[in-house]
């Protein structure tokens, strides 16, 4: 990585003023030498600013400054992701199947889950439904997969995300 370095030659505005002051002093010296030949004294009226602050110019990492098109290659910051689980095959029908309702008891599940079950029971009268109250509420726990299999569930409806 490019490191910050001092720019050896570049001058800040204040350093330019300092340089100008040195120039003015040289002119004054020339005037003094001239005075040896010509005794008329020369008065310098210009006020010279004496710099008291040194500005450090640093070069920071940044644009390389090349002309023409630039291509940047950067990583996708979301990184890698591992798929370890696959979705179960879909059912051909819900008729005659066991449908399990799962939930975390949040977001009005005591109302939404029974209502969904009620609607599906009317649509699929030969299906069996196991209500959410029969299952643990830790639906993020991987153990839940084994629990629903043991219960004989053919399909699962999970809610409610919040």
């Amino acid at each position: 990585m490019a490191k910050e370095k001092e720019a050896p030659k570049e001058l800040s505005r204040r350093e330019f003023v300092k340089g100008a002051a040195v120039g003015a002093a040289a002119v004054a010296g020339a005037g003094a030498l001239a005075s040896c030949a010509a005794p008329t004294p020369e008065v310098i009226k210009e006020t010279v600013e004496v710099p008291v602050e040194v500005t450090k110019i640093v070069e920071v990492p940044g644009p390389p400054g090349e002309a023409g098109p630039v291509t940047l290659e950067v990583p996708d910051p979301s990184g890698a992701f591992e798929v370890t689980e696959l979705h179960a095959p879909r059912l051909d029908t819900l008729e005659g199947k066991t449908i399990c309702m799962l939930g975390n008891e949040s977001w009005q599940q005591q109302r939404t889950s029974p209502y969904i079950q009620e609607l599906l029971e009317k649509m699929y009268p030969t299906a069996t439904f196991i209500p959410y109250t029969e299952f643990p509420t830790e639906i993020n726990d991987k153990k839940i997969g084994g629990i629903v299999k043991d219960a004989g569930c053919d399909a699962v409806i999970i809610g409610n995300a919040g």
Partner: protein
């Protein structure tokens, strides 16, 4: 929902029926369920996933062009905004050169997995952790701290997926102990929770944490995270404890978690509250001893809000949970210590002074409802009077940080039950990195 599903190891695709949040509030109209019931049937019988094999999915690198460097960087930032990879503040390009430079901050192999960040479950490797740090203007010497933080994020007991997805206003708090804090210029005194040009490490590490939580963890506002307000998430809180100015007899925070004094380590917690506490006395005749004692009345008042579920056996959100981190600046800590206060006595006093009269507690309908739900048949008359607001004094964490001024303390409240800690591992070239930092940034600033 797709993001949370990914955290369980599935591809980010799911058969789901999405409803507006208004369906899920008290006394809502359930008609939309009836109108869309066929979609439930479709999800169980017709929907098909696109990913049909287990695999590690690694995204390709992104190429961005521009007529010059400036335009290419601008285009990269536009792309990151569109892909929801940005935090909204301009980012630097994580070029190979910049990432390789950041990676000089560790001796760990770049492909070593550090954590899987929930809820999405993105794989955080040493290299993928260095990427956001490169984007936020980080430096190699920051990397060991960031790796330790990510290690903590992966602690299953910390439940990062849970506090990331919640509607609460959670943000990460990382307290660093050991000499590394001063070496990398972490803030610990005046303005330590905010920006500081002389001490940029905390905001740059904290911003990289945010990108990790969002990009690898999936916490995009309104989908991967439902935090209604999302406070303090741009930079989170990454500070150092002011170990140099601890009062005599007070030990650093990390010694309470088994580390020897002087060990480089980080402690994580999550807060929802960031409250300045004007704790100073009014200077109308009180002694130093009275001022310190009375300041705890003020602090306890802040800490009682909002009430927590009473921690009884078998239930209660407050059970075993640290209620938060109480930040005391080192000058105030010296004053307290000079009149006999210790961390232990402060904890005990604040635990007692945050107790609430039972009659007042029983007016908190939400809390009483939860208490009854968790403890069927409970006799409210048997509850203690006054009621403790958290289980035990040790639930309160105390860290010494903040500007040395007698007036203020700070409260990072509503913490989590688990505080992961991790030792910070330095590379063999650590001294060289610190020397280069001094060359680049100037001498380590002297704290006022």
């Amino acid at each position: 929902m797709k993001v949370t599903h990914s955290g369980l190891g599935f591809a980010p695709e799911l058969a789901f029926v999405n409803f507006p949040v208004t369906l899920f509030v008290a006394e809502s109209d359930l008609t939309p369920l009836k109108e869309r019931i066929e979609e439930f049937t479709y999800g169980l019988t017709k929907w098909e996933p696109e990913v049909t094999e287990t695999a590690i999915l690694t995204p390709p690198k992104v190429t961005v062009e521009g007529k010059d460097y400036e335009e290419a960087v601008a285009n990269m930032n536009r792309l990151f905004l569109r892909n929801q990879w940005s935090d909204g503040v301009p980012l630097l390009p994580a070029t190979k050169e910049r990432v390789d430079w950041i990676l000089t901050g560790t001796d760990l192999p770049r492909d070593k997995e550090i954590a899987r960040v929930g809820p999405r479950g993105g794989i955080a490797t040493v290299e993928s952790i260095a990427v956001p740090l490169a984007m936020t203007g980080g430096r190699p010497e920051y990397l060991p701290v960031l790796i330790a933080i990510v290690e903590g994020l992966g602690d299953p007991e910390f439940k990062t997926a849970s506090w990331q997805t919640t509607s609460r206003g959670t943000f990460l708090v990382a307290i660093v102990n050991g000499p590394i804090g001063k070496q990398i210029r972490l803030s610990k005194t005046f303005g330590c929770l905010g920006p500081d040009s002389q001490r940029p490490a905390g905001v740059r590490i904290g911003r990289a944490v945010r990108l990790i939580l969002q990009d690898m963890g999936g916490a995009t506002p309104g989908s991967g995270t439902m935090s209604c307000y999302g406070p303090n998430r741009t930079t989170n809180v990454v500070i150092s404890e002011d170990e140099e100015n601890l009062p005599a007899g007070w030990e650093p925070l990390n010694t309470e978690y088994g580390y020897a004094r002087g060990t480089n380590s980080v402690l994580l917690n999550v807060s929802c509250l960031a409250v300045n506490m004007w704790r100073r006395g009014n200077y109308i005749g009180e002694t130093l001893e009275e001022e310190q004692d009375e300041s705890f009345d003020v602090v306890a008042w802040y800490m009682r809000i909002p009430p927590k579920s009473y921690p009884v056996e078998g239930g209660g959100r407050g059970k075993g949970s640290p209620v938060g981190i109480y930040l005391i600046n080192s000058l105030v800590a010296e004053q307290m210590a000079s009149v006999g206060w210790t961390k232990e006595s402060i904890r005990q006093t604040l635990w007692e002074r945050t107790h609430t009269p039972l009659a007042e507690y029983l007016t908190y309908g939400r809390e009483v409802r939860k208490l009854k739900y968790d403890n069927p048949g409970i006799d409210l008359a048997t509850l203690p009077d006054p009621m403790p607001m958290y289980e035990k004094p040790e639930n309160l964490l105390i860290a010494i940080a903040g500007g040395r001024h007698p007036s203020q303390n700070f409260w990072l409240g509503e913490g989590r039950a688990v505080c992961p800690t991790a030792e910070i591992q330095l590379p063999a070239i650590w001294d060289q990195l610190i020397a280069e930092a001094e060359e680049d940034l100037g001498p380590i600033p002297i704290d006022p």
